[in-house]
């Protein structure tokens, strides 16, 4: 009899607890805000990363090609370009792992590549450490006719 009375009291307490609106705002906020806002933060993070990488790879393509085109000869050009890319990549905040994945390709209209009036296209890519996405950009320039 006593046990029955106790269990009825507990049930009533539970019912009143459910009906009580104290703290309901927190539950509402968590239930609504988390599913809505978490995808937004994920998108924001990804988009910032993609935009940043795009900016970095374009700077690298441009500067790497300038260093090459302004060199005295083909061999020195490749050396200077590689060094410039490594230094610039470091300054732009790429990690050592990302710098290791840097890949550079020169497409030239003449042979040797650094010939007067020749067209050089540099394509550079690297793998982003966070998203493991390959970022690529190209730049094109003509070599001076009086080199």
């Amino acid at each position: 009899m006593k046990f029955k009375r106790e269990s009825v009291g507990l049930l009533k307490k539970l019912q009143s607890g459910i009906r009580d609106e104290h703290g309901s705002a927190i539950v509402e906020f968590v239930a609504l805000a988390i599913p809505l806002f978490i995808p937004i933060f994920m998108y924001l993070n990804n988009f910032a990363s993609v935009s940043g990488n795009e900016e970095i790879v374009r700077v690298l393509a441009r500067e790497g090609l300038r260093a090459y085109v302004a060199s005295d000869n083909d061999h020195a050009g490749r050396e200077v370009s590689a060094q410039a890319l490594s230094v610039i990549a470091h300054h732009l905040g790429l990690t050592a792992t990302e710098i290791q994945t840097l890949s550079v390709r020169f497409d030239c209209s003449n042979n040797p590549c650094l010939s007067a009036n020749g067209r050089i296209r540099l394509t550079i890519s690297y793998v982003d450490g966070q998203s493991h996405r390959t970022v690529e950009a190209s730049a094109q320039e003509y070599v001076s006719p009086w080199m």
Partner: protein, 181 residues
């Protein structure tokens, strides 16, 4: 009925949902604008790069008739070295420079690879200043936004870029056009 409506309006249950939905909409709208701004910034760099490349190509057009004037003897070069005479600026053939600049811009505009951002439309030459020794060009291009700006019909913007360049004589010892030192 009216009393019921009044009671419903006074009832505060679910009021937070309205606030959250409102905030969510504002956040999404801001995100769309931010994405568009980021796209414009990256596209601007791409346009500046194309403009620079075009200016570089334009400045490489040598005006031969202006360059090969005067008399050069076996004494003029050593004398210039001894007296450290300033080099004359390399004359540019401005008519050919226009063609070369336009060709390079067309090259960049028609690129389907990674040279130009895909959001950038064709690059148009708006101005070319050539004074015979340097070239300055201005370009513009339309950039398409990934999202239409919320609460407006704006879905693109016009970007402009300007680049100028000149030639510089590279000191060295050349024999038959081959640099020896």
């Amino acid at each position: 009925m009216l009393n019921r409506l009044r009671k419903l309006l006074r009832d505060e249950r679910g009021s937070l949902s309205v606030v959250i939905m409102g905030l969510f909409l504002i956040t999404v709208a801001s995100l769309m604008v931010m994405s568009d701004v980021a796209t414009v910034l990256v596209a601007k760099r791409s346009l500046a790069q194309a403009t620079e490349a075009a200016a570089q190509r334009g400045v490489h057009t040598l005006d031969k008739s202006a360059y090969y004037t005067g008399k050069g003897t076996m004494f003029t070069a050593p004398l210039a070295l001894i007296t450290r005479r300033e080099h004359e600026p390399i004359p540019i053939d401005c008519n050919r420079a226009v063609i070369e600049v336009m060709l390079e811009l067309r090259n960049w505009s028609n690129d389907d690879g990674s040279m130009k951002r895909h959001e950038l439309q064709g690059i148009v030459l708006t101005d070319l200043k050539c004074d015979g020794s340097s070239v300055e060009i201005s370009t513009y291009s339309e950039v398409k936004f990934p999202f239409t700006i919320p609460f407006s019909k704006m879905d693109s913007a016009i970007l402009t870029a300007t680049a100028g360049t000149t030639n510089q004589v590279q000191e060295g010892f050349y024999l038959f056009g081959i640099r020896l030192h």
